[in-house]
């Protein structure tokens, strides 16, 4: 749609600006403020320049958490995106069973995140959980609070359980919007199932899939509550992701300076990666002629 130039549109944006400025800009400035100062408590602050950032760059703890975070986000994206598309392709197209699947699939999305953690905490326990008990009775050493691999697998399976439906619902919506004529044409050409997917379905859901990837990347990169409830970041530090580490630093130890520098670095990493996704997305949008 061709839009008209209208500078008065700013007035319509104003309420959003005021609200977001209050709840984003002021806190962010507080963070920036802390990141360049040092304090010995009692509310006295001293200029510390870039010391905290320098410390951060040489902090093994931060690099480890960042590495774990990137590994986690990469693993869940690699699992959830193909699985979500696969599930969407197999969903009923309409009628009772379509709504039935939609409702049940949305269920995990609306469970509070700490309850998601609780569910898997109980489900995975060797004494009272179905999963833990079953694995244990097969003689598999599974204990997510002590075993590194068990902890990682639990956290990943939990995230797949929690979020794959979002990818599936988005892909499903994209598939629904493909006109029948495309399938008819493919049928006339006797295209194989794989070719229908590769050349009709995939390009058509690409836009919506990019949104899914962007959302999943952002949310997995900020994950806090679920692993915190299940593993508490352990065993050792093996599932301490960036948010868990940051909360420990800021609200637990009250190390304002380092935590603030950490926050800024964290936010910047997300921003840069999301900006790349966003640019790719808008370019795709333009190419499709929206």
């Amino acid at each position: 749609m061709n839009k008209t130039v209208n500078q008065k549109a700013w007035f319509l944006i104003l309420p959003v600006l005021v609200l977001v400025a209050f709840s984003a800009v002021i806190p962010l400035m507080t963070v920036v403020n802390y990141s360049v100062q040092d304090t010995f408590g009692n509310n006295q602050f001293f200029w510390a320049g870039l010391d905290w950032f320098r410390d951060l760059m040489s902090s093994e703890r931060m690099w480890d958490a960042l590495g774990r975070q990137i590994a986690f986000s990469a693993i869940i994206l690699v699992i959830q995106i193909p699985l979500g598309v696969f599930v969407a392709l197999n969903m009923p197209k309409k009628g009772f069973w379509a709504s039935f699947c939609l409702i049940l699939m949305s269920l995990p999305l609306l469970i509070p995140w700490n309850v998601v953690g609780t569910i898997w905490q109980i489900f995975g326990r060797v004494d009272i959980g179905l999963l833990g008990y079953t694995l244990d009775s097969f003689g598999i050493d599974y204990n997510y609070t002590q075993n590194f691999y068990a902890a990682w697998i639990t956290v990943i399976v939990m995230d797949v359980w929690h979020w794959t439906s979002l990818v599936a619902l988005l892909a499903y919506a994209g598939l629904q919007s493909i006109p029948d004529a495309y399938y008819q044409a493919a049928k006339i050409d006797q295209a194989s199932r794989w070719k229908v997917f590769r050349f009709i379905e995939l390009p058509k859901i690409m836009g919506v899939l990019m949104i899914a990837i962007l959302l999943r990347f952002m949310d997995s990169f900020m994950i806090y509550t679920e692993p915190f409830v299940v593993t508490g970041g352990g065993p050792g530090n093996s599932t301490t992701f960036l948010s868990i580490d940051l909360v420990k630093m800021a609200l637990g130890q009250f190390d304002l300076g380092p935590a603030a520098a950490f926050s800024i670095m964290y936010y910047l990493v997300i921003l840069v990666i999301s900006y790349v996704f966003y640019t790719v997305m808008t370019n795709l949008d333009k190419r499709d002629g929206h």
């Binding site: 008209t4 984003a24 197209k93 939609l102 409702i103 269920l107 948010s243």
Partner: protein
């Protein structure tokens, strides 16, 4: 539509395959939830004394505990209160903004749009401490409105983003015709435009509800007693005698109920909304 899908179904012998895939996937989704329900209907002695696939000694005592103890059920009321406030505030500010983004170009619009989105990308962990200090300093700590405003950080940008997608789909001629007919902007917006994007508003409200309802870190940091959300109350079950699994599970089941009701009511809009809009 149905006719062509049927033909496709016959062309590829994957109808049964699909049913199997969906069956397995839904089983994977429902099994942990079933297990929570199973736990919530057992007594603690039964949970800890043996392993069984269904409650041998069915009890509703865990639910009774929650629904009769004010310190438990006020948690639900608090959560409901700030979620509803958040949905109302977010929609109220996002509607005009989304309209502006969908209809006009103005100085800095693209940058502004991305900047708004960046707030959706802000990790709550980054904002927990500054929010605590900000809301304490303005005397809003431990109020529902503080949590509602804090959740606006990620919900307002999301609302603008989704609504803009829907509004782009409404032809501009409608606006022009209304102005020629002598409608003022506020009247046009409320009487004509808002009903046209009603399904978009429904889908947006669904997502706002969802993201506010499930969030714990900010709502826990910003409250202590009066506005404490149910999610934070649940950490109470860890007592001196270990974890009270039965009550914990029952509380968990009860947090699923509002979400399930919301899904049930919007089930037909969701797929449609997904297809039309952005999310």
């Amino acid at each position: 539509m149905s006719d062509i899908t049927n033909k496709r179904g016959m062309g590829f012998p994957r109808v049964n395959g699909s049913a199997v895939v969906m069956g397995l996937y839904l089983l994977f989704l429902l099994l942990p939830i079933y297990w929570l329900l199973n736990m919530s209907l057992k007594t603690n002695t039964e949970i800890l004394s043996g392993f069984s696939l269904w409650p041998q000694d069915l009890t509703l005592q865990n639910y009774v505990t929650i629904l009769t103890d004010a310190s438990w059920y006020t948690g639900y009321l608090n959560s409901m209160a700030y979620v509803v406030m958040n949905v109302v505030i977010s929609l109220a500010v996002a509607l005009p903004a989304a309209y502006a983004f969908s209809r006009f170009t103005f100085l800095g619009d693209k940058h502004l749009f991305f900047w708004l989105l960046t707030n959706r990308m802000a990790p709550p962990a980054v904002f927990a401490l500054p929010f605590f200090q900000l809301y304490s300093s303005v005397g809003l700590f431990d109020t529902h409105i503080a949590v509602a405003l804090a959740h606006g950080l990620f919900n307002v940008p999301l609302a603008v983003w989704i609504l803009e997608g829907f509004m782009r789909g409404v032809p501009k001629e409608i606006d022009e015709t209304a102005y020629i007919d002598g409608y003022s902007f506020p009247r046009f917006f409320i009487r004509i435009f808002t009903p046209l994007v009603a399904s978009g508003i429904g889908v947006t409200a669904f997502f706002l509800f969802m993201f506010s309802w499930v969030e714990l870190l900010l709502s826990r940091t910003l409250t202590s007693v009066d506005a404490k959300p149910i999610a934070a109350t649940m950490t109470r079950t860890v007592g001196a005698a270990g974890i009270d699994w039965g009550v914990l599970a029952a509380a968990g089941v009860l947090t699923i109920v509002p979400g399930a009701l919301v899904i049930y009511f919007v089930r037909n809009y969701i797929a449609k909304g997904f297809a039309l809009g952005r999310v």
